[in-house]
Symmetry: C2
Subunit: 258 residues, 2 copies
DNA sequence: ATGTCTTTGTGAACGCGTGCACAAAGATGG
DNA sequence: CCATCTTTGTGCACGCGTTCACAAAGACAT
């Protein structure tokens, strides 16, 4: 295998666009699947299809990492897995704490996708004293009082917040004060953190609301199309999903408070 | 309250940028909080701070919806809540099914953020016969066999997939065939759907991987800074978080398969 | 060795999103 | 009624990300 050791822009880590970084895990997942099926090489076209992106975009993304492909052949799967893993920092061990062991926290603790990707759940933390000592996903829950000590002892730099919204900022502050510099926030709040701390937010209800917007738009267009073609058939079949909807657009009186 | 009924571009639903749509739920949440505190009006500056965005961006976002502000005063909170809710389609009822009642599915079923925003969990569906009838979050789990009937009877157009990756595509196909046109996918797979069906993906491990990338970058810069200032102090304190890391960049031999 | 064929890597054009900066609008006080 | 002050709404410029399209690179057959 050639693996083109020609010029090598030598991991220009600093120049990788954010959008590309966000897609690397996607490629990595597709590549891992190929690797498990012992597929030796893959073309940009195939891999792009597996990852659900445009092939040109994929090639450009990889070009930021270096020249890891072989023209006329494609990419060596194993080699690419290694390169992307290294680029993402997954070749090292990342201890993670999860704070807030409710339904979601427990689900996260049980989630298998962590261990396989370099992440290790170092501790589960909850404010409820009744939870303390109770094992979740094989790990005993510890009380919030221990938070600082846990962070210190395990060298944790990534924290996951799965508490109710009201507690999130407070937990966040303590995590940051204890040395955590990356936070994954599941609580529906805007966290304020000092410079140098990264926060990523996952909000279930926001995702659903975005879907609802598009769904409404689709229903509106359908209704409009049905109205336009009202002469012929299409009676109420196409309007199945709307319940108390009154026309797609702003022809509603508009309540107006005050 | 004036509520500027001047020109009114009348809900140009069709022209709202995707990026704006993604932020509307954010604004809505901040506004709801203000509403609960009985705050009558809010300026773009204040609201932007509460939502964690730039105030110019917020004003531009709102400008796509229409002229709902009053110059010199700000925005009427209640009115804006109503307008955004309507724009997002949250004034109507959206029945939702959750497929795959494992840890995550149960967490989603118990998640309170749905009901308060126009979403109603119409049914919980799982492939395990042992789960059938067992109540989760007060709703009895139904078997996958019932899927099509449930979708039909409840007029469900939004489905949430929280199954293992292997089952996701199959479940997706059945949902789509039964009439679902929006899917929120928590399974770590790329779903293929026909045109007209929207899919949004939430992947916990991807978010963590993105955090790890930035964390690694930070650690690398720290190490570089420490190396640069190696003459004076800063011994091993700044390097606390790296365990088996060997220099920040591509100076590693690079394994090279094959 | 040479030609052909496949696939990468990338220059260039385009479009979208962001942020600045300011004019217009309206409230408020005298 | 006029002046002043606040805050919106937006024209404009800029930068990032996406996509096209193609030249260069290498494999492979003859």
């Amino acid at each position: 295998m050639a693996t083109g050791r020609t010029h090598r822009p030598a991991t220009r880590s600093r120049g990788i666009p954010e959008a590309t970084v966000a897609r690397l895990p996607l490629y990595l997942r597709a590549l891992t699947a190929l690797s498990e099926r012992s597929v030796p090489t893959v073309s940009s076209e195939e891999l792009a299809a597996a990852a659900g992106v445009n092939s040109a975009k994929l090639r450009k993304d990889f070009s930021y990492l270096g020249s890891y492909g072989t023209r006329g052949v494609g990419y060596d799967v194993e080699y690419l897995v290694y390169q992307i893993s290294r680029e993402l920092g997954l070749t090292q061990d990342w201890p993670v704490v999860i704070v807030g062991i409710g339904n979601l926290g427990a689900a996260l603790a049980n989630y298998g996708g962590f261990a396989s990707r370099g992440f290790r759940v170092a501790a589960l933390i909850d404010a409820d004293p009744a939870m303390a000592g109770k094992p979740v996903a094989g790990i005993p829950v510890q009380h919030t009082d221990e938070l600082e000590k846990i962070i210190e002892d395990n060298g944790v730099s990534i924290g996951v917040i799965a508490t109710p919204a009201g507690a999130a900022q407070q937990v966040c502050d303590r995590l940051v004060a204890a040395g955590v510099t990356s936070i994954l926030n599941f609580a529906p709040t805007v966290l304020s953190v000092p410079d140098g701390v990264d926060v990523r937010k996952v909000d279930l209800s926001i995702e659903l609301q975005i879907l609802a917007f598009h769904e409404q738009r689709k229903a509106g267009e359908e209704a409009a199309a049905a109205a336009g073609a009202a002469v012929d058939g299409i009676p109420a079949a196409a309007v199945r999903k709307q319940s108390a909807d009154k026309g797609p657009d702003g022809d509603v009186p508009a309540v107006m408070p005050a």
